[in-house]
């Protein structure tokens, strides 16, 4: 069942599915767990076909209890397995929050390195799919604030394929955020023989001179669209796909901001205490004299996620990003 080299154009959903399959082939200790991940293949079909091929012992349909899923995954990890847990939607990770921040995050530290916790917690996150309450949350800051966890977000099919494998191979617990709005959106060409970037690295995805846009997950697309639109007006924007949120990979960010003198962070999470706050604080500390304007943040407003008919008002979009670019340049 080994993966042949493909150069197909695939969706993010497919990239993740292929990556999971490859990881399960490579290491028999890799398990997939969660609600509806088996026969159904997950509500987003990310685990489609895996139970059929790897059996019920490796692709485990769980009772409806998130703390139970993560808590038993802790036990499986202690027994030497590498569980990949699927949380059905971002808004349903909170019943497992205690197990994640008190157990998953701390086991390695508590045991002074004796007990590893190689677990991946996959969370489809973010909005824009017209869903009801609790299906469009962006909980990344609540995990990134917790030492012991690593937090990453993929933004495209190719990264989905590689990053999920790298996260599974990582000996630390990784909260793996997947922009659900992108699952079936854009296709990209995957070359499975390529060498991927390291998991915990950020990437400049568009070069520019006048300001730096920092994005991850679903907002990478928004930032790229903004940069494209701005170029029409003679403004050259650099776009960085952060990819890793904890740890942050500050080197490319600082290098860029030192060059452009301006930074705008955009994410769907609430602005208050979101990733933008941390980035603003660090960038300012490191590039104080290079900054021409304060780091600006374009994010979800500090309201609960609204009813879906106005969710696009809540979510950062091209116009709001460009407005921030204007404010930065006019500062």
């Amino acid at each position: 069942m080994s993966e042949t080299i493909t150069q197909d154009r695939i969706t993010l959903a497919k990239g993740l599915n292929m990556g999971l399959r490859r990881a399960m082939e490579d290491d028999p200790k890799v398990l997939v767990m969660g609600e509806d991940v088996g026969k159904l293949g997950g509500v987003f079909r990310i685990t489609d076909g895996l139970q059929k091929d790897f059996g019920e012992d490796r692709v485990i349909d769980s009772p409806l209890a998130e703390s139970g899923i993560v808590g038993t995954a802790v036990g499986l990890a202690l027994r030497g397995y590498r569980p990949v847990v699927e949380i059905q939607f971002d808004g349903f990770v909170y019943p497992a929050y205690d197990q994640i921040v008190c157990q998953v995050a701390k086991m390695h530290y508590r045991s002074r390195g004796r007990s590893k916790m190689p677990m991946v917690i996959r969370i489809p996150f973010g909005g824009g799919i017209g869903a009801v309450e609790h299906h469009s949350e962006s909980p990344e800051a609540q995990f990134a604030h917790t030492p012991g966890l690593k937090v990453v977000a993929c933004s495209n099919p190719v990264d989905g394929y590689w990053m999920i494998q790298q996260a599974i191979a990582c000996d630390d617990p990784v909260v793996f955020l997947e922009p659900k709005r992108q699952y079936h959106a854009d296709k990209a060409q995957l070359d499975t023989s390529a060498t991927p970037d390291p998991l915990f690295s950020s990437r400049v995805v568009r070069r520019g001179e006048h300001a730096t846009l920092l994005a991850y997950g679903p907002t990478v697309k928004t930032a790229l669209a903004a940069a494209e639109a701005a170029s029409g007006e003679g403004r050259s924007l650099e776009v960085i796909d952060l990819r890793t949120l904890s740890p942050l990979d500050m080197a490319p960010v600082l290098e860029s901001v030192r060059r452009t003198g301006r930074a705008i962070v955009t994410h769907e999470a609430h602005v208050n205490l979101g990733m933008g706050a941390e980035l603003a604080a660090r960038i300012t500390e490191e590039c104080f004299y290079s900054l021409e304007a304060p780091v600006l943040r374009v994010g979800g407003f500090d309201t609960p996620y609204p009813a879906s008919r106005i969710e696009e008002e809540f979510l950062p979009d091209l116009d709001r990003v460009l407005d921030a670019v204007d404010r930065s340049l006019d500062f």
Partner: protein
């Protein structure tokens, strides 16, 4: 296995949930429309009551059918169908007194109907114009809860509030009140639901845990959540559990009514397992052919909750064709009203997003709202 000293293996004794509900199933009306009797829960029903149940179920199903169609036409983002669960919901809903309070899941459209909530308001939520727009206090019917199981604790706390308000066990039927917590078979696995059992037992709270075991939690069968009949869960927490035929509106009514009465009188919680089947998909975005056999669905069709009442009503001359026709007309009218009302529903305004975050708005949120208003104005000025 008894050589270990633990007696026979419990799984062998109880078996997994039987497809017919097993011998413990309380039933008053068979799938064939025969009135049966039960030593504990029997009860007479007037013709008017029976017709009322039938009408409620027919109209509830119509709401469901219309909403499903509206979703197909892109008018709703999603819809959680109740097809097949009409009896469980109408039986439970009609057993309530006005002063009782209900905590629903996202699928209790039939109970909402009994509580006088305009079905258009249910559509609003699934259309995405709001997160719930009825007044829980006006209808004694809480907002839909989407995080599985959370409302079981709210119900228990609300019931503790009733105890403190002195509206439990006074003997005054217009005063004594109780709470119903709705949830599904899948929800029975959540910590919150089990903690609700513990709190309710510990404080002897007047709450009825009404679990619609529709055999599925999306694609997970009931066997994943419990290897014994669900109603027996309650026994381990020290309060009674009973399994009722959830496709039998009479039995569901009788059992819920008795459980509510018990709660109102101050005798504490009861667990009611309404044994039923989710005839449709989990929601309109689900594809159940991926995980279940159509045979099962066919078998359950024979136990349709509505047709058995119709058979009984007709056989006993309690309705005639004219009455049925009139009801059909009423359903058609309701359907038309929902279709039109749904499409006419105004979208929320952008700035509505900022309303009601707090009872006392903060300066910082006000500034954010005003900033966004000013930003929006620049577009209007620009004529975009």
């Amino acid at each position: 296995m008894s050589h270990h000293g633990f007696g026979p293996d419990l799984v062998e004794v109880f078996g997994p949930s039987q497809s017919d509900g097993g011998p413990e199933l309380v039933q008053l009306l068979t799938p064939e429309g025969e009135r049966t009797h039960h030593p504990e829960f029997d009860r007479d029903f007037s013709a008017e009551e029976l017709r009322g149940f039938y009408r409620d179920m027919v109209l509830t199903r119509r709401i469901d059918v219309e909403a499903t169609a509206l979703q197909r036409h892109g008018e709703l983002g999603i819809w959680a169908q109740l097809l097949g669960q009409e009896a469980a919901q109408i039986g439970a809903g009609r057993a309530l007194r006005p002063q009782d309070h209900v905590f629903p899941t996202y699928r209790e459209h039939g109970v909402a109907w009994c509580r006088g909530v305009d079905p258009l308001k249910l559509l609003g939520l699934f259309r995405g114009v709001d997160h719930g727009s009825w007044d829980p206090a006006e209808h004694n019917f809480g907002l839909y809860t989407i995080v599985i199981g959370a409302q079981a604790l709210h119900a228990t706390g609300y019931a503790m509030g009733m105890q403190r308000d002195g509206v439990v066990g006074t003997g005054d039927p217009d005063r004594d009140a109780a709470v119903v917590a709705h949830f599904g078979d899948g929800a029975s696995s959540q910590g919150d639901v089990n903690e609700a059992f513990i709190f309710a037992a510990s404080y002897n709270a007047p709450v009825v845990f009404f679990c619609q075991n529709n055999q599925w939690a999306i694609s997970e069968p009931i066997e994943r959540q419990s290897r014994i009949p669900l109603y027996q869960r309650a026994l381990g927490f020290g309060f009674p559990g009973v399994r009722v035929d959830g496709n039998d509106v009479l039995a569901t009514y009788a059992v819920t009514q008795a459980a509510l009465q018990r709660a109102r009188e101050g005798q504490g919680p009861t667990f009611v397992e309404a044994y039923t089947y989710r005839m449709g998909a989990h929601t309109t975005t689900d594809d159940p052919t991926r995980y279940r056999l159509s045979d099962d669905v066919e078998r359950w069709k024979l136990r349709d909750p509505i047709s058995r009442v119709e058979v009984y009503l007709r056989r006993n001359g309690l309705v005639d064709d004219a009455w049925i026709e009139e009801l059909k007309g009423e359903a058609d009218e309701l359907g038309a009203r929902l279709r039109e009302g749904c499409k006419a529903m105004p979208d929320p305004q952008p700035l509505d997003m900022f309303a009601h975050v707090y009872a006392e708005e903060t300066d910082e949120l006000r500034a954010q709202r005003e900033g966004y208003a000013a930003y929006l104005e620049t577009f209007e000025e620009a004529g975009r």
